[in-house]
């Protein structure tokens, strides 16, 4: 009983780690205008992955399409992050894009 309780609490407390694989920043060569933090758009798309059984990476394309819709004139700054949130026998891959539209 004690071991079962320990096991349960271990599972509940431990499944919350993440790993950032890459974070890339690109900035337009011309001068960047003043901006407030609130003017940055933020997009996050994710894909749940159970034991690796996924057959596409469309969530990345969706994030990019969302960026194109929100910034029809293009971007002057962009930060792309690719990370994974770990879980019990599964994980969630995420793409986060922060950008300043022109």
């Amino acid at each position: 009983m004690k071991k079962l309780f320990l096991l349960f609490s271990l599972v509940m407390l431990s499944a919350c780690t993440s790993s950032i694989h890459m974070s890339q920043v690109a900035i337009e060569e011309e001068r960047i205008n003043e901006f407030e933090n609130g003017q940055l758009i933020s997009i996050e798309k994710s894909q749940k992955n159970i034991l690796g059984f996924v057959f596409d990476t469309n969530y990345v394309d969706k994030a990019y399409d969302s960026l194109l819709k929100q910034c029809p004139q293009g971007t002057s700054m962009i930060n792309v992050e690719y990370l994974t949130n770990h879980g019990f026998m599964s994980w969630t891959d995420k793409i986060r894009i922060k950008a300043l539209c022109k």
């Binding site: 431990s14 950032i20 770990h86 026998m89």
Partner: protein, 141 residues
């Protein structure tokens, strides 16, 4: 004897300390035609900790067989509870690189930036590490 050798080896690795790992590097265009370049660096980091590996080390150095078995079981549970691809050690906060873009803009008062290099690296000390996102660049003066 084998356990003592493993403990000695593990401890010596800890003492060496500060091992660096380079995970990802991206170099952008560099414009040196518009003025003098002043380098800047923006760095954010988070503590990375591999709990399963730590407990497994404990299982290897445990004196009694039953303690070793229990610890191995715990290491197994921790490993399957934190499943998925990892770059470096896992962290408990996935927002540590959230302000990187804002910090890069703040770094240059002239707001003219070129030559951004995005680096994902880590500094390891045993099962603990500093997971780092570093952005190097140049301000055009």
């Amino acid at each position: 004897m084998l356990i003592k050798m493993k403990s000695m080896f593990g401890l010596s690795l800890l003492l060496i300390g500060g091992c660096s790992q380079l995970h990802h590097v991206h170099v952008s265009d560099i414009d040196q035609s518009r003025g003098k370049l002043t380098p800047f660096t923006v760095q954010v980091n988070e503590l990375g900790f591999d709990a399963a590996q730590t407990v497994q080390i404990g299982a290897d150095v445990a004196k009694s067989a039953s303690t070793s078995e229990d610890l191995e079981f715990i290491a197994f549970i921790l490993a399957i509870s934190n499943f998925g691809p990892k770059t470096g050690n896992p962290v408990y906060n996935d927002n540590y690189a959230e302000q990187v873009l804002v910090e890069v803009v703040k770094a240059c008062p002239s707001r003219k930036i070129t030559g951004l290099t995005s680096i994902r690296e880590a500094t390891n000390i045993g099962p603990v590490s500093g997971e780092v996102v570093r952005i190097n660049g140049y301000c055009i003066n």
